[in-house]
């Protein structure tokens, strides 16, 4: 892995007298995404699940994220997960996150006998769990089915109960007696019913055919909250609306609502390394000062000794913090996040060295380009600001996860009692441009949009999306300019992939859509290393950007699947896309804010049949 900082998850299990730990590397950005708490993580041979944050060994306070916290409406502190490194000798150094092997059931490849946590029976270090049937002795594999419900709980499949429903045959995990036969495997008898699997009991001879969807599990006694929790909170939880057995690779198993924000002035401008900064970042020294009703000598000296500075400097720093450093009483409300970021990006300032947010405005050079490229003047008119974001810091917060695609979010410590959430810093670069508001306002007025927007709105409201996308679509209202920006940003990312040297999966979009606000930030942000290669911000040079934009709009005209794609009346989950398919507007899922939903090329290229003008045409008319 090229990434120097890794995180490792370990599960200690005993083999004979030795305790064996296996470590898996997980990138920080994945840890706060699809490989987070409660997800299924793969190692070379095993499946694991990551234990919740209350069991994490250590975590450090993430400084200067007050605005991010307030704007995202987070009350908890933000803490960074611990980092471990892989030493030269192959040992993991540093704190690792705990995980357990899950699912617990293992199935014999040959005879289908099911074994409960059979890895605990292995006596030798390099041995592999094998079938307990003395005539078989075939390798066992973890059987990749789990049971989840819409409350976010996950458990092993209660195979015994599925077959016996509480009959006289008692479960005995020490003596495997259940067989799960794959009816489609070679050598199996031709399937009677259409179901793929047959579950049978060696002891009592009970049989049952089943498939993944046959989950009539209404008995709540099988539900612990998560595999690593011993408590059963069923009594104080609402009954789950839906319970399902799914394969571990099913996308409904685990999803994480994206929650991130840029760090902008004043917090990005804080001079790092000063006494004030060091005191603010060191909670062990700051807490006694904050708690103290009177700044006594001992409290001050303790901090001065810890930071190796004088008591005078500590007093000054304590006063600054008391006055409200670093935000000094500025008030942020959750709805304001994007407006503030937009304002920060479009306001020029002189950055000092070491700042976390550095922009370079290219708008003047962009406008001057109009004299040389007469034929593209409409595009230059359309884009009213072009800004290179040389350096940016994004904070990504893990608020929790959900299962079965519902809105219920389980907090990262399961109970929601912790006073912190995991969060990471990502550093990178980006390219920002905004579209002329007067052109957009005229363009939005077109009557042709009404039908399309209405259909989208009707499909969008019952889907799970509105709550997650509240920040970008306040009130769940879809506007034509949003569809334009979103589709345009996707087309751009596909185009940039070819010219900037970044794969589309590493690029990300951030849309600024609102009243008199229409901007797109395409950026790359990675944890672990500071900054990136600069290939993306280079694209903001006016002549390169013009070529990029022109080719993007040209590409939007046609898709290789046309006319099927452009005439499609709804594709994707909840049919939230119109003219957008893998041939034209879809990008890798991590790059998109909305899970590749709400896309339609028609909003970019126009449609004569529907009476919709393309945005470029609108810009040309405004020139005239």
């Amino acid at each position: 892995m090229a990434n120097p900082a890794i995180d490792a998850q370990c599960r200690a299990h005993r083999i004979g007298e030795i305790t064996v730990k296996e470590s898996i590397s997980v990138r920080f950005s994945h840890l706060l995404g699809f490989a987070g708490v409660g997800s299924i993580v793969r190692s070379e041979d095993w499946l694991y699940t990551l234990i919740d944050t209350s069991k994490w060994p250590q975590h450090s306070f993430l400084p200067y994220v007050e605005r991010v916290r307030l704007s995202l409406g987070i009350d908890e502190e933000l803490h960074e997960p611990p980092q471990a490194r892989l030493g030269q000798n192959g040992y993991v150094q540093g704190a690792t996150l705990p995980g357990i092997r899950f699912p617990s059931w293992m199935r014999c490849r040959k005879c289908g006998l099911m074994h409960w946590q059979w890895w605990n029976r292995v006596k030798e270090r390099d041995d592999w769990p094998r079938c307990s049937d003395s005539s078989c002795r075939t390798r066992l594999d973890q059987f990749p089915w789990v049971m989840i419900d819409s409350n976010g709980r996950m458990n092993d499949v209660p195979w015994h109960w599925l077959l016996h429903h509480g009959g006289p045959c008692k479960e005995d995990t020490g003596n495997p007696h259940l067989r799960l036969i794959d009816n489609r495997s070679a050598g199996a008898k031709p399937p009677g019913p259409s179901k793929r699997w047959t579950l049978s009991c060696k002891r009592c001879g009970a049989r049952r055919d089943l498939s993944e969807k046959d989950a009539e599990i209404d008995n709540p006694q099988f539900f612990r909250h998560q595999p690593w929790r011993s408590d059963n909170p069923t009594t104080d939880m609402d009954p789950a609306e839906e319970t399902q057995i799914v394969d571990v690779s099913d996308p409904r198993l685990y999803s994480v609502p994206s929650c991130s924000a840029l760090v902008i002035p004043p917090e990005s401008r804080i001079q790092r390394g000063s006494v004030l900064d060091r005191l603010y970042c060191n909670r062990n020294l700051l807490d006694p000062i904050r708690k103290a009703k009177h700044l006594t000598n001992a409290v001050i000296k303790q901090a001065a000794h810890g930071l190796n500075c004088t008591s005078g400097e500590i007093r000054e720093a304590a006063e600054e913090i008391d006055k409200g450093f670093p935000l000094y009483g500025q008030i942020f409300t959750p709805g304001q996040l994007l407006e503030d970021e937009f304002k920060a990006i479009v306001t020029p300032f002189d950055p000092a060295e070491g700042e976390d947010f550095v922009t370079f405005h290219r708008t003047t050079a962009w406008r001057q380009l109009a004299e040389h490229c007469a034929e593209q003047r409409q595009l230059i008119r359309l884009v009213d600001r072009l800004i290179e974001v040389k350096r940016l810091r994004e904070v990504r917060v893990f608020k929790g996860f959900s299962r079965l695609g519902v809105e219920t979010v389980v907090p990262p410590d399961i109970d929601g009692t912790a006073n912190w959430l995991p969060a990471i810093d990502l550093f990178g670069e980006g390219l920002f441009f905004s579209l002329d508001d007067t052109i957009l306002q005229v363009w939005e007025e077109q009557a042709g949009f009404a039908g399309r927007i209405e259909t989208l709105q009707r499909r969008y409201t019952p889907s799970g999306l509105p709550k997650r996308s509240e920040l970008w679509l306040p009130g769940g209202r879809i506007r034509p300019r949003f569809m334009l920006l979103h589709t345009l940003s996707h087309m751009l990312i596909r185009q940039i992939e070819a010219s900037a040297g970044y794969p589309a999966a590493s690029l990300k979009e951030r849309l600024y859509c609102g009243e008199s606000m229409a901007g797109i930030l395409i950026y790359v942000a990675v944890p672990d290393i500071v900054g990136s290669l600069g290939g993306l911000s280079e694209l903001s040079q006016p002549n390169r950007f013009l070529a990029l934009l022109a080719s993007t709009l040209e590409k939007a005209e046609w898709c290789s699947l046309d006319p099927v794609c452009s005439e499609h009346q709804g594709q994707g989950p909840f049919l939230l896309n119109f003219a957008a398919c893998h041939g034209c507007a879809l990008i890798p899922e991590p790059a998109c804010l909305f899970g590749n939903n709400l896309l339609d090329r028609t909003f970019v290229r126009g449609d004569e049949g529907l009476g919709i003008l393309s945005i470029a045409e609108q810009a040309r008319r405004s020139l005239a």
Binding site: P288, N297, K301, Q302, H305, R315
Partner: protein
């Protein structure tokens, strides 16, 4: 005291039912401890013992006897905070005690690290002083001034400084009772933690006099270094400090006094101490100096005894120690042992040797006393005799003749170099290192090869 029948271990608690070492049942009644009771005198074949005057000079020097640099320290104003730094034998404690004498009207408190040193200083001081170990004093003072018990860690005696700081920061300064006297004199101040000094200011102690030697640190993690101590004593926080400025400028440079001249040891011992001091490589405290005009005495000796050789074994050494004590009745002889077990062994060996050589003594039996800090003993320093004690408790004391027992059990590391520095500088006349020559002796490499500094008798 009960002695275990099974393993012979002596159990200090009389009410104990089970031996804490081997777990066997103890006898119901306490038997007299053979080590603590002097063996009954052998009646036969002894010549009549003559009583002898064993009193030795044990008093503070008079003001007129002070040297120039000591004078400077002695004449510091009563008010203010001062740090007196000096090596062993430079008279730090003497100055501290004389200062107590001067301040006697202000009822100052005198603090030191351990009880033995407190007892020693009380015995030495011409006036009655209020002296206690710093930890006891702090717990009492904290309770009296704040009205709350002093928070401690799991081990009951160790103070939880984070909790102390928090309690004080929550109390209105006006509600903290003023100290009985704002004057404090602290000896061996390097052994108290920084937090202790920080808190003193909050409790209202304005005038603090600290005598310290950073070459004699007992527990490096729990004590203060020079920078920390200066920083802690600094009274008003200063705002402007440049990097180039020496750290001492934080504090009034006039308030730091260094003593350099060694007055306790003879030249032979002082030279050996200077040799060991080089190994400490500590720039916080000066090593003591010596000059040609100093009185000289016999060169220190490294003596290897041999348990297999009856003419050279430990019993022989003990017999000659007793004879030495008999020839020099006014001498206080200190036997410094690394462990408590070794200390008890030596005490036993000396008692046995006394029985054997009693017929050769010129005077009555010399006093052989075992010092245990935990027993709260108060030995008499005004009389000659033999004291057996652990190396850790010898700090601050002085003896005419010092035996450093069994140096083959010391590892050659910085902590032990410091301990050796302390032990060597206890000697006012003579110094002998003992070791078992059948064992390897790693720390002997640190001792000088030059026979003018140390005579080696293998």
């Amino acid at each position: 005291m009960k002695t275990c029948i099974a393993c012979g271990n002596r159990n200090n608690r009389d009410e104990a039912k089970w031996c804490y070492q081997c777990g066997n049942a103890l006898p119901a009644t306490a038997a007299a401890d053979p080590a603590m009771v002097k063996p009954s005198p052998v009646k036969a074949e002894t010549r009549p013992q003559q009583a002898v005057d064993r009193s030795r000079r044990f008093q503070l020097p008079r003001y007129e006897d002070l040297t120039k640099e000591q004078d400077l320290a002695y004449e510091l104003p009563k008010e203010g905070r001062y740090l007196l730094i000096g090596g062993p034998g430079t008279g730090k404690s003497v100055i501290a005690l004389l200062r107590l004498n001067t301040l006697s009207k202000n009822n100052p408190d005198f603090l030191a690290y351990n009880r033995l040193l407190i007892h020693y200083c009380k015995a030495l001081s011409p006036v009655l002083i209020s002296a206690s170990t710093w930890i006891t004093w702090f717990k009492q003072t904290f309770r009296r001034q704040t009205g709350k018990p002093c928070p401690t860690r799991d081990q009951m005696w160790e103070i939880d400084w984070a909790a102390v700081t928090e309690i004080i920061s929550q109390i209105d300064p006006k509600q903290i009772a003023p100290p009985a006297s704002p004057y404090l004199v602290i000896d061996e101040g390097q052994d108290m933690p920084k937090d202790f000094y920080w808190t003193l200011s909050d409790l209202g102690y304005e005038h603090i006099f600290v005598a310290a030697d950073f070459n004699q640190v007992l527990y490096p993690k729990k004590s203060s270094n020079r920078r920390g101590l200066i920083d802690a004593l600094e009274k008003k926080p200063r705002k402007v400090v440049t990097v180039d400025e020496p750290e001492e400028r934080l504090f009034d440079p006039e308030a730091i006094i260094e003593l350099h001249m060694n007055h306790r040891n003879p030249k032979s011992v002082a030279r050996l101490a200077a040799h060991i001091c080089k190994f400490l490589d500590n720039h916080q405290s000066p090593c003591t100096e010596f000059h040609d005009a100093m009185r000289d005495a016999a060169t220190p000796v490294l003596f290897g005894y041999d348990p297999q050789d009856p003419a050279r074994d430990r019993a022989t050494v003990c017999r000659s120690i007793i004879l030495t004590a008999d020839r020099n009745p006014r001498w206080l002889i200190g036997i410094l042992c690394f462990t408590k077990k070794l200390r008890d062994e030596y005490k036993q060996a000396l008692d046995d040797a006394l029985v054997e050589v009693r017929h050769r003594l010129d005077h009555n039996d010399p006093r052989i006393e075992l010092l245990d800090m935990n027993q709260g003993q108060e030995p008499d320093f005004t009389q000659g005799g033999i004291l057996v004690l652990t190396a850790q408790s010898c700090k601050g004391l002085e003896f005419d003749f010092v035996f450093v027992a069994d140096i083959d059990i010391y590892w050659n590391n910085t902590g032990n170099h410091q301990l050796f520095y302390v032990m060597v500088t206890r000697a006012m006349e003579r110094l002998v290192f003992l070791y078992d020559r059948t064992n390897p002796c790693p720390i002997a490499n640190m001792l000088p090869q030059d026979s003018n500094l140390l005579k080696r008798d293998h």
